[in-house]
Protein backbone atom coordinates (compact mmCIF):
# COMPACT_ATOMS: atom_id res chain seq x y z
CA UNK A 1 0.00 0.00 0.00
CA UNK A 2 2.70 2.48 0.98
CA UNK A 3 4.75 2.47 -2.25
CA UNK A 4 1.59 2.80 -4.36
CA UNK A 5 0.30 5.53 -2.06
CA UNK A 6 3.54 7.53 -2.33
CA UNK A 7 3.44 7.16 -6.14
CA UNK A 8 -0.21 8.27 -6.32
CA UNK A 9 0.25 11.19 -3.94
CA UNK A 10 3.33 12.34 -5.86
CA UNK A 11 1.46 12.09 -9.14
CA UNK A 12 -1.51 14.05 -7.79
CA UNK A 13 0.74 16.78 -6.40
CA UNK A 14 2.64 16.93 -9.70
CA UNK A 15 -0.62 17.31 -11.67
CA UNK A 16 -1.68 20.22 -9.47
CA UNK A 17 1.79 21.82 -9.64
CA UNK A 18 1.91 21.60 -13.44
CA UNK A 19 -1.63 23.05 -13.63
CA UNK A 20 -0.61 26.03 -11.51
CA UNK A 21 2.60 26.47 -13.54
CA UNK A 22 0.57 26.42 -16.78
CA UNK A 23 -1.77 29.15 -15.55
CA UNK A 24 1.13 31.28 -14.31
CA UNK A 25 3.29 30.77 -17.43
CA UNK A 26 4.58 33.97 -18.95
CA UNK A 27 4.00 33.25 -22.63
CA UNK A 28 1.30 31.39 -24.57
CA UNK A 29 3.90 28.98 -25.93
CA UNK A 30 5.13 28.06 -22.45
CA UNK A 31 1.53 27.62 -21.31
CA UNK A 32 0.87 25.19 -24.18
CA UNK A 33 3.96 23.17 -23.25
CA UNK A 34 2.66 23.07 -19.68
CA UNK A 35 -0.79 22.03 -20.90
CA UNK A 36 0.62 19.10 -22.89
CA UNK A 37 2.67 17.98 -19.88
CA UNK A 38 -0.43 18.31 -17.71
CA UNK A 39 -2.38 16.10 -20.14
CA UNK A 40 0.27 13.38 -20.12
CA UNK A 41 0.42 13.38 -16.30
CA UNK A 42 -3.36 13.26 -16.21
CA UNK A 43 -3.25 10.22 -18.51
CA UNK A 44 -0.94 8.53 -16.00
CA UNK A 45 -3.42 9.39 -13.24
CA UNK A 46 -6.25 7.78 -15.25
CA UNK A 47 -4.11 4.65 -15.65
CA UNK A 48 -3.66 4.55 -11.86
CA UNK A 49 -7.47 4.79 -11.55
CA UNK A 50 -7.75 1.77 -13.91
CA UNK A 51 -9.53 3.90 -16.54
CA UNK A 52 -7.20 3.02 -19.40
CA UNK A 53 -9.76 4.02 -22.07
CA UNK A 54 -9.88 7.53 -20.65
CA UNK A 55 -6.09 7.60 -20.32
CA UNK A 56 -5.62 6.72 -24.00
CA UNK A 57 -8.10 9.39 -25.05
CA UNK A 58 -6.51 11.98 -22.78
CA UNK A 59 -3.03 11.25 -24.16
CA UNK A 60 -4.04 11.08 -27.84
CA UNK A 61 -6.74 13.75 -28.07
CA UNK A 62 -6.55 15.86 -24.90
CA UNK A 63 -2.80 16.19 -24.94
CA UNK A 64 -1.65 15.29 -28.46
CA UNK A 65 -4.09 16.72 -30.99
CA UNK A 66 -5.29 19.56 -28.73
CA UNK A 67 -1.64 20.37 -27.97
CA UNK A 68 -0.89 20.63 -31.70
CA UNK A 69 -3.96 22.84 -32.18
CA UNK A 70 -2.91 25.12 -29.32
CA UNK A 71 0.70 25.34 -30.58
CA UNK A 72 -0.50 26.57 -33.98
CA UNK A 73 -2.88 28.99 -32.25
CA UNK A 74 -0.06 30.32 -30.04
CA UNK A 75 2.15 30.79 -33.11
CA UNK A 76 -0.59 32.79 -34.85
CA UNK A 77 -1.22 34.92 -31.77
CA UNK A 78 2.45 35.75 -31.22
CA UNK A 79 2.35 39.18 -32.90
CA UNK A 80 -0.48 40.35 -30.61
CA UNK A 81 0.68 38.59 -27.48
CA UNK A 82 2.43 41.50 -25.78
CA UNK A 83 -0.55 43.78 -26.30
CA UNK A 84 -3.06 41.25 -24.96
CA UNK A 85 -0.81 40.37 -22.00
CA UNK A 86 -0.95 44.00 -20.89
CA UNK A 87 -4.75 43.95 -20.81
CA UNK A 88 -6.45 43.11 -17.53
CA UNK A 89 -10.05 41.90 -17.30
CA UNK A 90 -12.42 44.20 -15.40
CA UNK A 91 -12.96 43.63 -11.66
CA UNK A 92 -16.53 42.15 -11.93
CA UNK A 93 -15.20 39.67 -14.50
CA UNK A 94 -12.38 38.61 -12.21
CA UNK A 95 -14.74 38.27 -9.24
CA UNK A 96 -17.17 36.17 -11.31
CA UNK A 97 -14.36 33.91 -12.52
CA UNK A 98 -13.10 33.47 -8.96
CA UNK A 99 -16.55 32.68 -7.57
CA UNK A 100 -17.23 30.13 -10.32
CA UNK A 101 -13.85 28.47 -9.83
CA UNK A 102 -14.43 28.20 -6.06
CA UNK A 103 -17.94 26.79 -6.65
CA UNK A 104 -16.61 24.08 -8.99
CA UNK A 105 -13.82 23.29 -6.52
CA UNK A 106 -16.27 23.06 -3.60
CA UNK A 107 -18.59 20.81 -5.60
CA UNK A 108 -15.80 18.44 -6.56
CA UNK A 109 -14.38 18.47 -3.04
CA UNK A 110 -17.82 17.63 -1.61
CA UNK A 111 -18.13 14.69 -4.02
CA UNK A 112 -14.74 13.34 -2.99
CA UNK A 113 -15.09 13.99 0.76
CA UNK A 114 -18.70 12.80 1.16
CA UNK A 115 -19.15 10.02 -1.43
CA UNK A 116 -22.58 8.42 -1.75
CA UNK A 117 -22.64 4.98 -0.11
CA UNK A 118 -23.01 2.72 -1.99
CA UNK A 119 -21.57 4.63 -4.93
CA UNK A 120 -24.13 4.87 -7.78
CA UNK A 121 -23.05 2.59 -10.62
CA UNK A 122 -24.45 1.23 -13.86
CA UNK A 123 -21.48 -1.06 -14.39
CA UNK A 124 -23.35 -4.30 -13.75
CA UNK A 125 -26.14 -3.36 -16.16
CA UNK A 126 -23.55 -2.36 -18.76
CA UNK A 127 -21.84 -5.73 -18.40
CA UNK A 128 -25.05 -7.82 -18.63
CA UNK A 129 -25.74 -7.06 -22.31
CA UNK A 130 -22.17 -7.31 -23.61
CA UNK A 131 -22.62 -10.85 -25.08
CA UNK A 132 -25.64 -9.70 -27.17
CA UNK A 133 -23.55 -6.92 -28.71
CA UNK A 134 -20.55 -9.17 -29.29
CA UNK A 135 -18.35 -6.52 -27.66
CA UNK A 136 -16.08 -7.33 -24.74
CA UNK A 137 -15.13 -3.80 -23.67
CA UNK A 138 -17.90 -2.16 -21.63
CA UNK A 139 -16.64 1.35 -22.50
CA UNK A 140 -16.95 0.66 -26.22
CA UNK A 141 -20.42 -0.78 -25.63
CA UNK A 142 -21.49 2.39 -23.83
CA UNK A 143 -20.09 4.62 -26.56
CA UNK A 144 -21.39 2.75 -29.56
CA UNK A 145 -24.59 1.11 -28.26
CA UNK A 146 -26.08 2.28 -24.95
CA UNK A 147 -25.25 5.94 -25.48
CA UNK A 148 -24.84 5.85 -29.25
CA UNK A 149 -26.79 9.10 -29.62
CA UNK A 150 -24.17 10.99 -27.59
CA UNK A 151 -21.37 9.56 -29.72
CA UNK A 152 -23.21 10.46 -32.92
CA UNK A 153 -23.79 14.05 -31.77
CA UNK A 154 -20.14 14.28 -30.69
CA UNK A 155 -19.03 13.48 -34.23
CA UNK A 156 -21.43 16.08 -35.63
CA UNK A 157 -19.97 18.62 -33.20
CA UNK A 158 -16.47 17.76 -34.49
CA UNK A 159 -17.67 18.45 -38.04
CA UNK A 160 -19.20 21.76 -36.93
CA UNK A 161 -15.90 22.69 -35.26
CA UNK A 162 -14.07 22.06 -38.53
CA UNK A 163 -16.59 24.18 -40.43
CA UNK A 164 -16.04 26.87 -37.80
CA UNK A 165 -12.29 26.79 -38.43
CA UNK A 166 -12.79 26.92 -42.19
CA UNK A 167 -15.14 29.88 -41.77
CA UNK A 168 -12.20 31.97 -40.55
CA UNK A 169 -10.88 32.00 -44.14
CA UNK A 170 -11.62 34.93 -46.45
CA UNK A 171 -14.23 34.18 -49.13
CA UNK A 172 -11.76 33.86 -51.97
CA UNK A 173 -9.88 31.07 -50.19
CA UNK A 174 -13.00 28.96 -49.49
CA UNK A 175 -12.35 25.42 -50.67
CA UNK A 176 -8.62 26.07 -51.01
CA UNK A 177 -5.74 24.34 -49.28
CA UNK A 178 -5.20 24.91 -45.52
CA UNK A 179 -2.40 27.09 -44.21
CA UNK A 180 -0.30 24.15 -43.05
CA UNK A 181 2.81 24.25 -45.22
CA UNK A 182 5.65 21.80 -45.37
CA UNK A 183 8.50 23.62 -43.73
CA UNK A 184 11.45 23.44 -46.15
CA UNK A 185 13.72 24.87 -43.46
CA UNK A 186 13.20 21.93 -41.12
CA UNK A 187 15.66 19.77 -42.98
CA UNK A 188 16.17 16.07 -43.57
CA UNK A 189 15.44 14.74 -40.07
CA UNK A 190 11.74 15.36 -40.40
CA UNK A 191 11.70 13.69 -43.81
CA UNK A 192 13.33 10.64 -42.27
CA UNK A 193 10.82 10.56 -39.41
CA UNK A 194 7.99 11.07 -41.90
CA UNK A 195 9.15 7.98 -43.77
CA UNK A 196 9.96 5.73 -40.79
CA UNK A 197 7.17 6.47 -38.34
CA UNK A 198 3.89 6.34 -40.35
CA UNK A 199 4.09 2.61 -41.24
CA UNK A 200 4.41 1.86 -37.51
CA UNK A 201 1.88 4.52 -36.48
CA UNK A 202 -0.77 3.37 -38.97
CA UNK A 203 -0.50 -0.22 -37.72
CA UNK A 204 -0.76 1.01 -34.10
CA UNK A 205 -3.78 3.20 -34.95
CA UNK A 206 -5.63 0.32 -36.64
CA UNK A 207 -4.67 -2.00 -33.78
CA UNK A 208 -6.07 0.42 -31.21
CA UNK A 209 -9.31 0.67 -33.19
CA UNK A 210 -9.58 -3.13 -33.52
CA UNK A 211 -8.66 -3.97 -29.94
CA UNK A 212 -11.30 -1.47 -28.73
CA UNK A 213 -13.87 -4.28 -29.01
CA UNK A 214 -12.31 -6.30 -26.20
CA UNK A 215 -9.79 -4.02 -24.46
CA UNK A 216 -9.11 -0.29 -23.97
CA UNK A 217 -9.03 1.49 -27.33
CA UNK A 218 -11.50 2.54 -29.98
CA UNK A 219 -12.36 4.84 -32.84
CA UNK A 220 -11.35 8.14 -31.23
CA UNK A 221 -7.94 7.02 -30.00
CA UNK A 222 -7.13 5.15 -33.21
CA UNK A 223 -8.35 8.09 -35.31
CA UNK A 224 -6.19 10.54 -33.36
CA UNK A 225 -3.07 8.42 -34.02
CA UNK A 226 -3.90 8.16 -37.73
CA UNK A 227 -4.44 11.94 -37.82
CA UNK A 228 -1.03 12.47 -36.22
CA UNK A 229 0.62 10.29 -38.88
CA UNK A 230 -1.18 12.19 -41.65
CA UNK A 231 -0.07 15.52 -40.18
CA UNK A 232 3.53 14.31 -39.88
CA UNK A 233 3.60 13.27 -43.53
CA UNK A 234 2.10 16.62 -44.57
CA UNK A 235 4.48 18.71 -42.44
CA UNK A 236 7.47 16.73 -43.72
CA UNK A 237 6.35 17.63 -47.24
CA UNK A 238 5.97 14.01 -48.35
CA UNK A 239 2.27 14.43 -49.11
CA UNK A 240 0.47 17.54 -50.34
CA UNK A 241 -2.10 19.18 -48.05
CA UNK A 242 -5.45 18.51 -49.77
CA UNK A 243 -7.75 21.31 -50.84
CA UNK A 244 -10.70 21.50 -48.49
CA UNK A 245 -13.18 21.82 -51.36
CA UNK A 246 -12.27 18.56 -53.04
CA UNK A 247 -15.10 16.06 -53.22
CA UNK A 248 -13.17 13.12 -51.74
CA UNK A 249 -12.13 15.21 -48.75
CA UNK A 250 -15.71 16.19 -48.02
CA UNK A 251 -16.87 12.59 -48.50
CA UNK A 252 -14.34 11.22 -45.99
CA UNK A 253 -15.27 13.95 -43.50
CA UNK A 254 -19.02 13.18 -43.51
CA UNK A 255 -18.76 9.41 -44.07
CA UNK A 256 -18.56 8.53 -40.36
CA UNK A 257 -21.54 10.53 -39.12
CA UNK A 258 -23.50 9.62 -42.29
CA UNK A 259 -23.03 5.86 -41.87
CA UNK A 260 -23.84 6.19 -38.16
CA UNK A 261 -27.04 8.09 -39.00
CA UNK A 262 -27.99 5.60 -41.73
CA UNK A 263 -27.65 2.67 -39.31
CA UNK A 264 -29.59 4.72 -36.75
CA UNK A 265 -32.52 5.29 -39.10
CA UNK A 266 -32.41 1.65 -40.25
CA UNK A 267 -33.09 0.86 -36.59
CA UNK A 268 -36.63 2.25 -37.05
CA UNK A 269 -37.38 -0.24 -39.81
CA UNK A 270 -35.65 -3.37 -38.50
CA UNK A 271 -35.57 -3.71 -34.69
CA UNK A 272 -37.41 -1.25 -32.55
CA UNK A 273 -36.16 2.30 -32.82
CA UNK A 274 -33.52 4.85 -33.64
CA UNK A 275 -29.95 3.57 -33.21
CA UNK A 276 -30.94 0.09 -32.09
CA UNK A 277 -29.08 -2.77 -33.68
CA UNK A 278 -30.72 -6.04 -34.80
CA UNK A 279 -29.34 -8.71 -32.49
CA UNK A 280 -27.84 -11.00 -35.15
CA UNK A 281 -25.98 -8.15 -36.94
CA UNK A 282 -24.95 -6.11 -33.90
CA UNK A 283 -21.24 -6.95 -34.05
CA UNK A 284 -20.71 -6.46 -37.85
CA UNK A 285 -22.70 -3.21 -37.77
CA UNK A 286 -20.64 -1.92 -34.85
CA UNK A 287 -17.41 -2.77 -36.69
CA UNK A 288 -18.56 -0.97 -39.87
CA UNK A 289 -19.53 2.12 -37.86
CA UNK A 290 -16.26 2.12 -35.92
CA UNK A 291 -14.07 1.74 -39.03
CA UNK A 292 -15.78 4.52 -40.99
CA UNK A 293 -15.90 6.73 -37.89
CA UNK A 294 -12.16 6.26 -37.37
CA UNK A 295 -11.42 7.43 -40.92
CA UNK A 296 -13.67 10.48 -40.51
CA UNK A 297 -12.22 11.33 -37.09
CA UNK A 298 -8.67 11.09 -38.47
CA UNK A 299 -9.55 13.38 -41.37
CA UNK A 300 -11.42 15.89 -39.18
CA UNK A 301 -8.70 16.07 -36.52
CA UNK A 302 -5.96 16.37 -39.16
CA UNK A 303 -7.74 19.19 -40.98
CA UNK A 304 -8.57 20.93 -37.68
CA UNK A 305 -4.85 21.17 -36.95
CA UNK A 306 -4.06 22.09 -40.56
CA UNK A 307 -6.17 25.22 -40.03
CA UNK A 308 -8.34 27.45 -42.23
CA UNK A 309 -7.79 27.59 -46.01
CA UNK A 310 -5.11 30.10 -46.90
CA UNK A 311 -4.66 29.54 -50.63
CA UNK A 312 -7.02 30.03 -53.54
CA UNK A 313 -8.56 26.96 -54.98
CA UNK A 314 -6.82 25.65 -58.12
CA UNK A 315 -9.36 24.62 -60.70
Amino acid sequence: MTAAFVLDAGLALLVVAVAVWTIAAGSAFAAVVGFVTFGLLLALAWVRLAAVDVALTEAAVGSGITGALLITAAARLRPTEQRSAAERPAVPMRVAAGVLAVAVFAGLAALVLFPADPAPTLASQAAVHLPELGVGNAVTAVLIAYRALDTLLEKVVLLLALIGVWSLAPDRFWGGAPGLRPSASLGGELTLLGRLLPPVGIVVGIYILWVGAIAPGGAFQGGAILAAMWLLVMIAGLQAVPETGQRWVRMVLVAGPAVFLAVGFAGFALPDGFLSYPAQFAKPLIIVIEVVLTLSIAAILGLLVAGPPERERQR
Binding site: S185, L186, G187, E189, L190, L192, L193, L197
Partner: protein, 97 residues
Amino acid sequence: MRILLDIVTVVAVSAGAVFFLAGTVGLLRFPDSLSRLHALTKADNLGLGLVVLGLLPQADGVLAALKLVAVWLLAQLAGATVTQLVARAARRGGQRA
Protein backbone atom coordinates in the same frame (compact mmCIF):
# COMPACT_ATOMS: atom_id res chain seq x y z
CA MET B 1 16.24 -17.83 -10.80
CA ARG B 2 13.34 -15.56 -9.94
CA ILE B 3 15.37 -13.65 -7.39
CA LEU B 4 18.22 -13.25 -9.88
CA LEU B 5 15.87 -11.69 -12.44
CA ASP B 6 14.45 -9.39 -9.75
CA ILE B 7 17.96 -8.22 -8.91
CA VAL B 8 18.62 -7.49 -12.58
CA THR B 9 15.41 -5.42 -12.67
CA VAL B 10 16.23 -3.43 -9.56
CA VAL B 11 19.80 -2.71 -10.68
CA ALA B 12 18.91 -1.75 -14.28
CA VAL B 13 15.88 0.39 -13.40
CA SER B 14 17.85 2.16 -10.66
CA ALA B 15 20.69 2.86 -13.11
CA GLY B 16 18.10 4.19 -15.57
CA ALA B 17 16.67 6.45 -12.88
CA VAL B 18 20.17 7.80 -12.21
CA PHE B 19 20.50 8.75 -15.88
CA PHE B 20 17.08 10.44 -15.78
CA LEU B 21 18.16 12.36 -12.69
CA ALA B 22 21.46 13.37 -14.30
CA GLY B 23 19.67 14.42 -17.49
CA THR B 24 17.18 16.52 -15.54
CA VAL B 25 19.92 18.19 -13.51
CA GLY B 26 21.74 18.95 -16.77
CA LEU B 27 18.56 20.34 -18.32
CA LEU B 28 18.14 22.68 -15.37
CA ARG B 29 21.80 23.64 -14.87
CA PHE B 30 23.53 23.76 -18.25
CA PRO B 31 24.07 27.23 -19.69
CA ASP B 32 22.85 27.01 -23.32
CA SER B 33 20.31 25.18 -25.45
CA LEU B 34 22.72 22.80 -27.18
CA SER B 35 24.31 21.45 -24.00
CA ARG B 36 20.88 21.21 -22.38
CA LEU B 37 19.77 19.05 -25.31
CA HIS B 38 22.91 16.98 -24.87
CA ALA B 39 21.95 16.33 -21.25
CA LEU B 40 18.40 15.45 -22.21
CA THR B 41 19.44 12.80 -24.74
CA LYS B 42 21.18 10.87 -21.97
CA ALA B 43 17.88 10.48 -20.16
CA ASP B 44 16.09 9.55 -23.38
CA ASN B 45 18.53 6.97 -24.68
CA LEU B 46 20.37 5.42 -21.75
CA GLY B 47 17.83 6.16 -19.03
CA LEU B 48 14.82 4.78 -20.87
CA GLY B 49 16.95 1.98 -22.36
CA LEU B 50 18.05 0.79 -18.92
CA VAL B 51 14.51 1.03 -17.55
CA VAL B 52 13.21 -1.07 -20.45
CA LEU B 53 16.09 -3.52 -20.04
CA GLY B 54 15.25 -3.86 -16.37
CA LEU B 55 11.55 -4.41 -17.06
CA LEU B 56 12.14 -7.11 -19.70
CA PRO B 57 12.54 -9.95 -17.11
CA GLN B 58 9.22 -8.85 -15.55
CA ALA B 59 7.27 -8.90 -18.83
CA ASP B 60 4.76 -11.73 -19.14
CA GLY B 61 5.48 -13.27 -22.50
CA VAL B 62 7.60 -12.49 -25.53
CA LEU B 63 4.94 -10.18 -27.01
CA ALA B 64 4.91 -7.88 -23.98
CA ALA B 65 8.73 -7.79 -24.03
CA LEU B 66 8.73 -6.88 -27.71
CA LYS B 67 6.24 -4.08 -26.99
CA LEU B 68 8.62 -2.70 -24.35
CA VAL B 69 11.51 -2.76 -26.83
CA ALA B 70 9.28 -1.09 -29.45
CA VAL B 71 8.50 1.69 -26.96
CA TRP B 72 12.22 2.28 -26.46
CA LEU B 73 12.98 2.27 -30.20
CA LEU B 74 10.11 4.67 -30.97
CA ALA B 75 11.18 7.02 -28.18
CA GLN B 76 14.73 6.90 -29.60
CA LEU B 77 13.49 7.77 -33.09
CA ALA B 78 11.26 10.60 -31.91
CA GLY B 79 13.85 11.89 -29.42
CA ALA B 80 16.67 11.96 -31.97
CA THR B 81 14.52 13.77 -34.55
CA VAL B 82 13.14 16.33 -32.14
CA THR B 83 16.61 17.00 -30.72
CA GLN B 84 17.92 17.76 -34.22
CA LEU B 85 14.96 20.04 -34.92
CA VAL B 86 15.27 21.93 -31.65
CA ALA B 87 19.04 22.27 -32.09
CA ARG B 88 18.56 23.66 -35.60
CA ALA B 89 15.94 26.12 -34.37
CA ALA B 90 18.22 27.16 -31.48
CA ARG B 91 21.16 27.77 -33.82
CA ARG B 92 19.09 29.80 -36.23
CA GLY B 93 17.25 31.79 -33.59
CA GLY B 94 20.48 32.72 -31.82
CA GLN B 95 21.35 31.27 -28.46
CA ARG B 96 18.95 32.50 -25.87
CA ALA B 97 19.75 31.71 -22.28
